[in-house]
């Protein structure tokens, strides 16, 4: 910013304080108050002053003599008090009153105070609705403006129907400001109650085409939201957005839209964001915007922050949409301008852009490696943080040690809890993924636990322990890792003066308790002693002590020497904590009875399921005896409660004593738990830590596979292979880097050289011939020896959705590489798994039961795949660079290949429904996706208990399709009965295969998009992927609910969520109700329960079990519809459907 501007603005603070020369007007009371507060020394004084002020204000606002003008002044002071943190709720009602009664400025301040004081759910807000209604109808434009402003700030969602017609009407107003504010109010309505404005989407389009740029710009807020939710639905608008951006960039707007000579920068940013969403993964749409992006990048030559803000958005858009070489080059150049800028704000944004861009192009990191090194040591922590974020994304097995070290260094300096938590998680993730060996892994995790302290999220220690406990395929290797951990912890505990965080101590004690037996040379007693030392420390929390005592208990199993026992008993037997006390007594009992001890605490069985006799059948005899002795049978808590309630309400006509007559045999079944309930529960609580470890998800998630620990031993085992395969690549790069740097460093200082050295260790493995795409990042060199874990996959997929833009690389690129892994390993276990996998592919129903197998391989034939990935030459460098993962060969998308000749579609291949399904009502066949080789049709079958989606996969080519997989991604709110992956190992030429998906809707929603993809191989060559989407509607899941009128009545009273609305009807004929209900029955599949006179009731259910009741009454051309359900959203959604359907009623 220029100095001149700086000076003008330096006068600003005086604007916000009282000018001494001003007359003692009303506003000066606020001035006096502010001055008073400013001069105070302490918080206590401030509190005193404000309390006094509030008391005075309270009196003044409620005095009848206070004029509206004075009221405005009072409210401003109240706003000020609340801003300082002192609640002024007594003034809320006066704010509403002022908005109601005041005129112009007073009214505006009234509205302002309301918007500052009240939250969306505040009950007083209802009182405002009438005022807004009145002002919307006012002839004074300023009042209309105010009403629209408040409606777009906060409005009770259920009152929207009351004002909606008036707001809609304003969209046609002659003044731009009214139209603009109406659009913004609709945007707000869309935010808080999307269903209410679904019918006015056409009007949004009109707003987009408004002759005034302000109105158009306002509509973009709605479109950004709509497109984010459903990018596919608005592709037709791409041209419009492009044209608008072209005009803005070309300077076609009025000059007053300029900001520092840049035309409407915020509008440009908004448009670039929309284009990004539209062009993602869509080549055709992307092509429409290449020109304007090119222009935007070129036009931004003015050296001002705001141009850089636009450029930043441009870079992101260019790297998100379907790539175009020269645009990418320009964007990369731009990114360089940011990073190399001496201005720190630009540098920061440059780093941020770079971490976005490297998801596609790692070369850019190499270009800027020295700058990144400098940023890593920047004095401003935020720059460092952003650099670490960048490094996190380029981590591979070769640079992991350096990067993790840098992260830990940062963590040691940072005090911020939020940053620590997020960074600690990243370190743990990288350590698990890329650890080079056991020692490094354990030491890194030690550092994580020490640095993370007690802020560390519990899933990190849990995952770590699970890793240790579940082990890997190789027992020997597992034991080495565990032994290393034991050794390392024993060494740490020997250092007496260090306090470790609780979670770290818990991890240590668990590991020592479980795995000390591996350390044969150490005496168990010594381990017990060092753990016992912790028990007496006051810095150790009770929870941790319970962990420690559990570990000690386990250790006593290993030794017959009970010398230390009395000490332990002394420490814990007298503990104030009942849990510790109980545990110590258990320990004593167990030590005395070795047989029980060995069953209760088996060695190395932490992963085994424990069979718990939850019915406590072993107590049956005891219960029977008690009942025989006259004890009352046990009733569960809720039953007792119910009986108590019903007894209070109704007289009991049952003869007394009958309840005792039940025979012991029958009651022993129902009332087993009562006599032992107490002891049982106490046992649970005492064993909580152990039970927690053994039973909770943390250690025993079925089917979870481990991530870490492979390459340690495999490296040893496969040393020779490793050297021949991996190291030439990587070593080659290092040396290349080094020579490159060496040339340059000839005359540099030692410090510089150090940086160069750091650079070569950081950016190793990122060479240009050795590009790692981010999707494939997780499968880089050493990763190949590792099984993937669910957790990591979860994180990956999260990553994917978070920055979904990286998806330029089709997921198939990682499939061959994964396959490589599997094949190269070839150990017996994997072999059997492969077989299993094949079995599951040929037998779909098994898939769901065999989760692990499904997880690891989504139905491909390994041999085929391998050939593919090896055979295809990397002809297109530019493309292959993006798709290739360092060590693996390139897979080219099928459309690049010329080997396959497109076939004419075969008409005889139309799908047909099997007889058993055809008898249900079903939709027409719909083509969901197709190319020259395959076609996918869908058909909805509305079964009584679910929605069946039948997918028909047709092979239209003349050769067979192998390893086809249809994979469907379920969105939130949908639930499938079984797996959503459908493998087809072989589809003969010109045949159609079929699969079905059974769906339920768990969260009501008017429309959901079901997305999925088909992957297949043609003649053992390329793997091709096609994506598709299917729209599902609420009505697909609605089924009639057959009820009698009485049942309806009962159910009606038991349901709590309801909505009511009047729908106007053009006709007034008595038949109208009948007609309306019949239409509802037809279209929404409602069941008409009864029609009496002018009222009708109907019922339906949302699959699988949410019922919804409808009551409607026809009177004087208005149909009042009243819906009730047990689910909050359902009535809203259904009401919307009713509105839609009723409009269609033929009258």
């Amino acid at each position: 910013m220029s100095d001149v501007m700086e000076k003008t603005l330096s006068a600003l603070p005086s604007l916000l304080s009282l000018d001494p020369g001003a007359k003692l007007s009303a506003a000066s009371k606020l001035g006096a108050l502010i001055r008073g507060v400013t001069e105070l020394a302490s918080k206590q004084d401030e509190e005193k002053l404000i309390k006094k002020e509030l008391a005075a204000l309270k009196e003044q606002v409620s005095a009848p003599t206070t004029s509206l003008k004075q009221m405005r002044e009072c409210l401003v002071r109240l706003i000020y008090c609340e801003m300082l943190g002192y609640e002024a709720s007594f003034g809320y009602i006066h704010a509403i009153k002022l908005a109601q009664q005041g005129s112009l400025m007073e009214k505006r301040v009234g509205y302002l105070a309301v918007s500052l004081f009240l939250s969306e759910s505040h009950e007083l807000l209802l009182l405002l609705v009438n005022t807004v209604l009145k002002d919307l109808q006012s002839t004074n434009l300023l009042e209309v403006c105010m009403a629209l402003t408040i409606a777009s700030q906060l409005f009770p969602p259920d009152m929207i129907p009351a004002v909606l017609p008036l707001v809609e009407e304003k969209l046609q107003h002659s003044k731009e400001i009214i139209r603009r504010k109406a659009v913004l109010a609709l945007y707000k309505f869309y935010l808080i109650a999307p269903n209410q404005v679904q019918h006015i989407h056409d009007k949004f389009r009109k707003a987009l085409c408004d002759r005034d740029p302000g109105v158009m710009a306002a509509s973009l807020h709605i479109y950004l939201l709509l497109i984010k939710e459903n990018p596919g639905g608005y592709k037709d608008l791409t041209r419009s957005f492009v044209t608008i951006l072209k005009q803005v960039v070309g300077g076609k707007l009025a000059v007053d839209f300029n900001y520092h000579s840049v035309p409407a920068p915020w509008l440009q940013i908004q448009l670039l964001r929309i284009l990004r969403l539209l062009g993602k993964d869509d080549q055709i749409t992307s092509e429409l915007m290449y020109d304007v992006l090119d222009e935007s990048l070129r036009r931004a030559e003015i050296n001002h922050n705001i141009t850089y803000a636009i450029l930043f958005e441009c870079i992101q858009t260019v790297y998100t949409i379907h790539p175009k070489a020269d645009l990418l080059e320009m964007a990369a150049k731009c990114n360089g301008k940011f990073i190399l800028s001496p201005k720190i704000n630009l540098k920061y944004l440059g780093l941020k852009a770079l971490s976005y861009v490297i998801q596609q192009d790692l070369n850019l990191v190499l270009q800027h490696q020295m700058t990144i090194i400098e940023c890593l040591d920047h004095s401003d922590p935020i720059i460092k943080r952003e650099t670490l974020e960048l490094l996190y994304r380029i981590t591979n097995a070769q640079n992991v040690a350096v990067i993790v070290q840098k992260m830990l260094d940062y963590l040691r300096q940072s005090k911020d809890e939020y940053i620590t938590i997020s960074l600690v998680g990243k370190v743990a993730e990288l350590a698990e993924k890329y650890a080079p060996n056991n020692e490094w892994f354990i030491q890194t995790m030690n550092a994580v636990f020490s640095v993370g302290g007690d802020m560390i999220p519990s899933d990190i220690p849990n995952n770590f322990l699970r890793l240790l406990a579940e082990g890997f395929d190789d027992e020997v290797e597992d034991e080495q890792l565990r032994l290393y951990a034991v050794n390392s912890y024993l060494a740490l505990l020997e250092k007496s003066n260090i306090q470790y965080p609780q979670r770290f101590l818990q991890v240590m004690s668990w590991v020592l308790g479980e795995y000390s037996y591996l350390k044969t040379e150490a005496k168990v007693e010594d381990v017990i002693r060092s753990l016992h030392c912790l028990l007496v420390k006051s810095s150790v929390s009770l929870e941790t002590k319970a962990w420690i005592l559990n570990a000690i208990t386990k250790l006593f199993r290993l030794t017959l020497n009970v010398e230390v026992l009395p000490e332990v008993m002394q420490t814990c037997g007298n503990s104030m904590d009942s849990c510790l006390r109980q545990c110590s007594f258990e320990l004593k009992q167990l030590v005395e009875n070795r047989e029980i001890m060995n069953t209760v605490l088996p060695l190395d069985k932490s992963c085994d399921d424990i069979v718990v006799d939850a019915s406590l059948s072993f107590l049956d005899g005891f219960v029977a005896d008690a009942l025989g002795g006259g004890a009352a049978p046990y009733k569960p808590h809720h039953q007792r409660q119910e009986e108590k309630l019903s007894q209070e309400k109704v007289l009991n006509f049952e003869p007394y004593g009958l309840s005792f007559a039940t025979s012991p045999q029958t009651s022993s079944v129902t009332g087993r738990q009562s006599p032992t309930g107490l002891s049982f529960s106490s046992e649970i609580s005492c064993n909580s830590t152990e039970a927690g470890l053994k039973d909770s998800d943390s250690l025993k998630l079925d089917g979870v596979k481990k991530v870490w620990g492979k390459e340690g031993y495999l490296r040893k085992k496969k040393e020779s292979k490793e050297e021949t395969v991996a190291s030439p690549n990587s070593e080659g790069d290092v040396t290349a880097d080094c020579t490159f740097t060496a040339e340059k460093t000839a005359g540099l200082s030692a410090e510089e050289r150090e940086k160069q050295l750091l650079a070569s260790s950081l950016f190793v493995g990122l060479g240009s011939n050795n590009l790692v795409n981010l999707m494939g990042k997780t499968q880089s060199t050493t990763q190949k020896f590792r099984r993937k874990s669910k957790i990591v996959e979860g994180q990956n997929s999260h990553e994917r959705t978070m920055s979904a833009q990286k998806a330029i690389v089709p997921p198939l690129a990682e499939i061959p590489s994964l396959m490589d892994n599997v094949l190269e390993r070839c150990n017996p276990f994997q072999e059997s798994k492969e077989n299993l996998l094949r079995k599951t592919t040929s037998d779909p129903p098994d898939v769901s039961s065999e989760e692990p197998a499904k997880e690891s391989g989504e139905s491909w034939t390994p041999s085929n795949n391998l050939q593919t990935s090896r055979a295809v030459p990397s002809s297109k460098e530019s493309v292959s660079g993006l798709f290739a993962d360092g060590n693996f060969d390139i897979v080219q998308p099928a459309n690049c290949s010329s080997a396959l000749v497109a076939r004419e579609p075969i008409s005889g291949l139309t799908p047909s429904l099997p007889v058993e399904l055809a008898e249900h009502s079903h939709s027409k066949f719909e083509l969901v996706c197709a190319n020259e080789n395959i076609a996918l049709f869908s058909c909805k079958v509305w079964k009584a208990d679910c929605l069946l989606i039948i997918l028909f996969f047709t092979n239209r080519s003349s050769i067979e399709v192998t390893n086809a997989t249809i994979n469907i991604a379920l969105t939130d709110g949908l639930e499938a009965c079984e797996s959503t992956d459908f493998p087809f190992p072989l589809v003969e030429s010109l045949t159609t295969v079929r699969c079905q998906l059974c769906l339920q809707m768990t969260k009501p929603c008017a429309r959901v998009l079901l997305t999925g993809c088909v992957m297949y191989h043609l003649e053992s060559s390329q793997c091709t992927q096609e994506e598709f989407a299917l729209a599902l509607f609420l009505t697909d899941f609605i089924r009639p609910l057959k009820l009698s009128t009485e049942e309806f009545g009962h159910l009606w009273l038991s349901l709590s969520n309801d909505v009511k609305q009047n729908l106007s009807f053009t006709s007034n004929s008595p038949e109208a109700l009948n007609l309306a209900l019949r239409t509802l029955q037809q279209e929404l599949k409602l069941h008409i329960v009864d029609i009496i006179g002018a009222e009708g009731i109907a019922a339906c259910q949302l699959l699988s079990s949410t019922s919804c009741l409808l009551h409607c009454r026809f009177h004087a051309g208005v149909l009042s519809v009243w819906l009730r359900s047990g689910c909050g959203v359902l009535p809203d959604c259904l009401l919307y459907e009713c509105q839609r359907v009723i409009r269609k009623v033929p009258l």
Binding site: L9, S25, S28, I79, M105, R108, D256, Y259, I269, I419
Partner: protein, 140 residues
């Protein structure tokens, strides 16, 4: 989106606050104290963006006055930084004629620029139009 907009003086006293997400009064004061602690001591050569929990703080200093915007990760820091300046330029344009304390009017101006955490208007004359009209009507 923009989560909040604050004006703070050099002594760390709040001069204006507007939240675009519901937040309890006492939480606001705690948050403001943290923000002041995080932004005010920073030097001129440090970055104008600060990480605070899941919010990115973008601040700008005008003599004794700090303007701080809290944004989430979908926003562009630099655009927010310039938005502050645009706001200040609007204030400069409006208040050059009548200099006195006007908490309500600053709020009215801000409401024209930002609604629901979105930038809805940046054209200076359009931002001021409703307020100027109100002034004119009130005078007459």
């Amino acid at each position: 989106m923009i989560k909040f907009f604050l004006l703070v003086n050099k002594q760390g006293q709040i001069r204006l606050s507007r939240y675009y997400e519901p937040m309890k009064i006492h939480k606001r004061t705690l948050l403001e104290a943290d923000i002041i602690k995080n932004c005010l001591p920073r030097t001129k050569d440090q970055c104008s963006f600060v990480e605070y929990k899941d919010v990115k703080l973008v601040y700008r200093q005008y003599a004794a006055l700090f303007v701080v915007i809290g944004i989430d990760d979908t926003e562009n820091e630099l655009a927010a930084y310039e938005l502050i300046h645009n706001f200040v330029e609007v204030l400069d344009k409006y208040f050059s004629r009548v200099i006195m304390f006007n908490l309500d009017k600053v709020h009215i101006i801000l409401d024209e620029m930002i609604l629901n955490g979105r930038v809805v208007e940046t054209n200076k004359s359009r931002i001021l139009a409703p307020l100027l009209a109100l002034d004119k009507m009130t005078e007459s």
